[in-house]
Amino acid sequence: MNTSAKPDSANERLISDLASDLAPVQRLRPPIVRAFTWLAVVAAIAIALAVIANVSALGHRLSAAADMWLSVTGSTLTAILAAIAAFQLSLPDARRIWALLPAPAGLLWIVASGAGCLRTWFLPGTHVADLSEARDCLIFIVGLAVPLSGLLIVMLRRAYPLQPELTALVAGLASAAAAATLLNFFHPFDAAATDLAVHVFAVALVIGTNWGLSGRLLATNFLRDNVTRGVARSN
């Protein structure tokens, strides 16, 4: 064992404090396994919603328009990839580049949803969402994203992200994409410009709130560090 450190140094005192404070810990499972645990909860909600929703009408809508398929695929993949990226980023030695993992799927989601808008010009008979329907979309996305984000943040806090804001941002994207995917069960109309704007606003609201609030929740580790260091130095 290396005992070369000076016995009186602050470092040595800190090491003694930490070693005497040591409790056995359970190793975290791999990030991908933890991500799929969260996605399993989302899938369980999806199954519960499928029981209530009219699934055959959903299938009919999706088979009628290719871009809706792409949009749903994009949002689903965004949720899956963003969840994996968030769990990767929650590790202290994670690379920032993980944050780009959901980017291609996110792009597909945005482009396909935007393409849906154009159809309302080509097909005048398409049902366009009015304001009350758009408000329902907003409430659904935000209402579902809040508990999903909460669960995700609780799970992420078990690790130790050294980039809390980025982790929270990606976690917000995962929750918002999951909520937007589940919205399709109750979305009997195409994404027209007003509706799309509401979706974008809802998703941005969820991501922004996560970034601002959850970033701080994940960053409380740093505050605790400073407190502990103060104690260690005063000993």
């Binding site: 470092n11 930490l18 810990v25 590790l91 030695d93 130790y160 260690a232």
Partner: protein
């Protein structure tokens, strides 16, 4: 709580890839990531890395002795990472302490199948960057102006404070001088010099019990005499 030094027994599952010295160096030598390239240098001796992994796995199981050895072993690596990032010499110990605390808080995230030194190096590098940013932010907020500081009048200063303090000090010194030698000794070491009971016992060759009794009597006498003096 200190567990016995049974780290070798409680180390848990270990990868076959640690078995060869060449494997870790080979795994990172091609890497474009600077910390991995650096790590290839740091883990030239793969045995060191394997030993750290075993210590960390034992620490995860609650072995305090292995943990203490591991943290001591980490200090040179952390200092090297901090210096490489350009942390000033007088702040290197801050990075060391930040990283030691981070290891402690994040120990459940370490997977013993992976290189410990690589894990440590990335954390140390990130903490060094955090500290540099913190110092830069602090420098932006604070101005170094020693003359302005000296010229600034302290509104709360009381000119008589020095006299009051000197008076109180001389009272305590005089009352202290009137105490019996053993009691004076107890106050001197335990209160004024803030030594521990064990250290004072060794220094004065008295038992801890006798020191406690003498200190108790001395404080009681001091309280009575100072009140009388006032």
């Amino acid at each position: 709580m200190m567990a016995s030094s049974s780290w070798a027994a409680s180390a848990g599952p270990f990868p076959a890839r640690h078995a060869s010295k060449d494997v870790i160096v080979a795994a990172y030598s091609w890497s474009r990531r600077p910390e991995r390239r650096m790590n290839a240098v740091l883990t030239q001796d793969a045995d060191t890395d394997l030993r750290r992994s075993i210590w960390m796995a034992a620490a995860q199981a609650g072995d305090g002795a292995a943990y203490r050895a591991l943290l001591r072993d980490c200090i040179p690596v952390i200092k090297s990472a901090a210096r490489r990032r350009g942390v000033a010499a007088d702040h290197v110990d801050d990075v060391v302490q930040d990283v030691l605390l981070t290891i402690h808080r994040a120990r459940q995230t370490y997977d013993p199948r992976r290189s410990f030194t690589a894990w440590l190096y990335v954390i140390a590098d990130r903490r060094a960057i955090d500290l540099i940013r913190r110092i830069r932010r602090q420098d932006l907020r604070e101005v170094h102006a020693p003359l302005a500081f000296e010229d600034h009048a302290d509104q709360t200063a009381d000119p008589a404070q020095g006299l009051v303090y000197a008076d109180a000090t001389s009272t305590v010194t005089r009352v202290m001088a009137s105490l019996p030698a053993r009691q004076r000794e107890a106050v001197q070491h335990l209160v004024l010099e803030e030594r521990s009971l064990a250290d004072t016992a060794v220094l004065t060759k008295r038992t801890a019990g006798s020191l406690k009794v003498n200190l108790h009597r001395a404080l009681k006498a001091l309280r009575e005499r100072i009140e009388r003096w006032d």
